[in-house]
């Protein structure tokens, strides 16, 4: 086992405190993103997730201005944007993309202002790169505890509410008829989404955070139709992508021209895409076999109705 690890990993990986922080924060982000993101895919709120991530850039840039860690900026701006989206009308399918798009535009406009103010009045240099594309190895160790606590909070929200959330996601009308507080559920979910996006932004940047949020759940839903099992698979895929991405980024330091690693975010996003592609294989294989046996390509057998709701709302 140790020999395998040493064959795959360049020296110093396990003793590096940067790697320890990255592994902890990245895993928390991936697990929470898988759970929360699964609902985003089911609810057709991928675009909302993407928008909350992008708006995180505004918070991150603002955080540099006032001199606090970017995580708090991501979180504050994400929650504020989620609240505005909820108020403007994210719960109605028709107004949803409009509300999201308008909030996104305003948020990115503010991000442009804050980045400009950062550059003009504050001695920051890496702000743009760090916030947009992530800088997991530069995350200070003191961020680990709050990141894990926030992740636990978001995870607790979706675990506690997963049954009503599933029903609301599958059929809002039925849920309302049963007397479920559809709007409150939506608001609680958006809060969890904002937290999850903040953690993902810390790991791979605000622009790419959506990859962690949507990619593993989308891949997992190709592998299993059962929501809870799909969430577990998504969490495994997400953590796998992040940890493997961290390991590859570590190794890339020794690739020619040596002495300059490739960013973690690139590897994570590339792996997520690979996982998504590979996840289509079992089903394609199955449907080909079904086709040979019955003469016509059939529907995948186990996909329930709610799983086939539009996967991407953007």
């Amino acid at each position: 086992m140790k020999a395998v690890a040493h064959a795959l990993l360049e020296p110093g990986f396990f003793s590096s405190s940067q790697v320890h922080v990255a592994v902890a924060v990245g895993a928390a982000a991936a697990v929470v993103a898988a759970a929360v993101g699964s609902f985003a895919v089911l609810r057709g709120q991928s675009f909302a997730g993407e928008a909350l991530g992008d708006i995180g850039a505004t918070g991150g840039a603002g955080a540099f201005l006032v001199g606090v860690g970017p995580l708090w900026g991501f979180l504050a701006m994400g929650s504020a944007a989620a609240a505005v989206m909820e108020l403007v009308g994210i719960q109605r399918a028709r107004g949803r993309d409009l509300a999201t798009g308008i909030v996104l535009a305003v948020g990115l406009g503010l991000a442009a202002l804050f980045f400009s103010l950062d550059a003009t009045y504050h001695p920051t240099t890496g702000a743009t790169q760090t916030i947009l594309f992530g800088s997991i190895f530069a995350v200070p160790g003191s961020t680990v505890a709050p990141a894990i606590a926030l992740g636990a909070l978001a995870l607790a929200i979706v675990v506690a509410l997963h049954r009503p959330l599933l029903l609301v996601s599958a059929s809002p009308e039925l849920a309302a008829a049963r007397g479920l507080p559809v709007r409150a559920l939506g608001a609680a979910y958006l809060l969890a989404l904002a937290v999850s996006v903040a953690l993902a932004a810390l790991t791979i940047g605000t622009i790419l955070s959506t990859a962690l949020l949507v990619g593993p759940p989308a891949a997992a839903m190709r592998l299993s139709a059962r929501p809870v099992r799909a969430m577990v698979i998504a969490a495994l895929l997400g953590v796998g992508a992040v940890w493997l991405g961290i390991a590859l980024s570590w190794d890339s330091f020794y690739w020619p021209p040596s002495g300059h690693g490739w960013p973690v975010s690139f590897f994570v996003v590339a792996l997520v895409v690979v996982f998504y592609g590979l996840a289509a294989l079992p089903r394609a294989w199955r449907s080909r076999r079904c086709g040979q046996r019955h003469g016509a390509p059939g529907q995948p057998p186990t996909m329930p109705a709610r799983g086939r709701r539009p996967a991407v709302g953007g």
Binding site: S16, S17, Y121, S135, S249, G259, H260, P263
Partner: protein
């Protein structure tokens, strides 16, 4: 009809407002009669122009805010105006102030003299460290060129410019002496930095910068650093393998702050360095001397000078 009239009224108001604004803008560069209008892209160059040109120059510094990073500076319309009106411009080059080239080519002038310090020193574009003013031979060379350019613009005062350049060169000797003393008595002292801003001075003082250059370049360029480099830097500080931590006060991010905290934990003395001349209270030579004295106090007495 009334709608059309209202539109005209609005347009007129906008045009008037624009005229007032542009009049205000033009009034900002006030030039003493008979002087050369000069611009220093960074205030250390503006300071040297002032020292050589004396009462025959009116100098504007583009970058002088000690709380910003010049690497990410964005030029505003007023900067463009100051540069396009200037007869003499001094800029660093090496991509450090490339906005100057853009403004200059946008407002071409056959009579404007542009001193690009990179070209003056004959440095290739691939030179990794752009912070040329920390090098002890840079400003004397710049001063020599300024004498020639100012004399061409104002031939009547050539002797005055020459005399001031001699005085400037002489006033650098305390700094050069301090560098030479450090180099001869304590050569090879290990130091760490966040960024290569002071590296030419550190070399001239005979110190050895143990921070990997890739990390310095990544922090300077705002690129995600490799964890191996970050780990190497942390152990330099935590194990107290360096005598001073030279900290760029103008390129700061959570990573540099975590290094600063690590240095303080390990009681490694900190020396603050700057991208532009800290004002008020300093001219170029007293700034450089203060930096070198702070370095000496750090490596010999373990004393921090985090801010000048």
């Amino acid at each position: 009809m009334s709608r059309l009239r209202r539109m005209f009224a609005v347009l007129a108001a906008v045009a008037l407002g624009g005229a007032i604004l542009s009049a205000c803008g033009a009034g900002t560069t006030r030039r003493a009669p008979g002087t050369v209008l000069a611009v220093g892209a960074e205030n250390q160059y503006a300071n040297v122009i002032e020292q050589i040109g004396g009462r025959y120059v009116t100098v504007t510094a583009i970058e002088s805010n000690p709380n910003t990073d010049p690497h990410t500076f964005e030029a505003s319309p007023s900067v463009a105006e100051a540069v396009s009106a200037a007869q003499l411009v001094v800029q660093n080059g090496l991509g450090y102030d490339s906005y100057m080239n853009k403004i200059e080519s946008a407002s071409p002038s056959a009579s404007r003299k542009v001193v690009e310090v990179q070209k003056l020193l004959g440095l290739p574009d691939s030179t990794p460290n752009p912070h040329l003013w920390y090098g002890p031979t840079t400003m004397p060379t710049v001063a020599g060129t300024l004498v020639a350019d100012l004399s061409a613009l104002q031939p009547a005062h050539a002797a005055y410019f020459r005399a001031r350049a001699r005085a400037f060169d002489a006033s650098l000797s305390p700094w050069l002496g301090a560098l030479a003393a450090l180099r001869s008595d304590h050569a090879g002292i290990p130091v760490a930095t966040t960024e290569p801003v002071g590296d030419y001075m550190l070399q001239a003082a005979g110190t050895v910068n143990l921070t990997p250059f890739t990390l310095q370049a990544d922090i300077m360029n705002g690129v995600d650093p490799a964890p191996q480099d970050v780990g190497a830097q942390e152990s330099l500080l935590a194990d107290h393998r360096v005598k001073a931590f030279v900290y760029n006060q103008q390129v700061v991010d959570p990573l540099t702050e975590s290094f600063l905290a690590a240095a303080k934990r390990a009681h490694v003395p900190v020396v603050g360095v700057y991208e532009t001349m800290p004002t008020p209270g300093y001219d170029y030579q007293s700034w450089m001397l203060a930096e070198t004295d702070a370095l000496r106090a750090a490596v010999l007495e373990g004393k921090s000078t985090q801010k000048l």
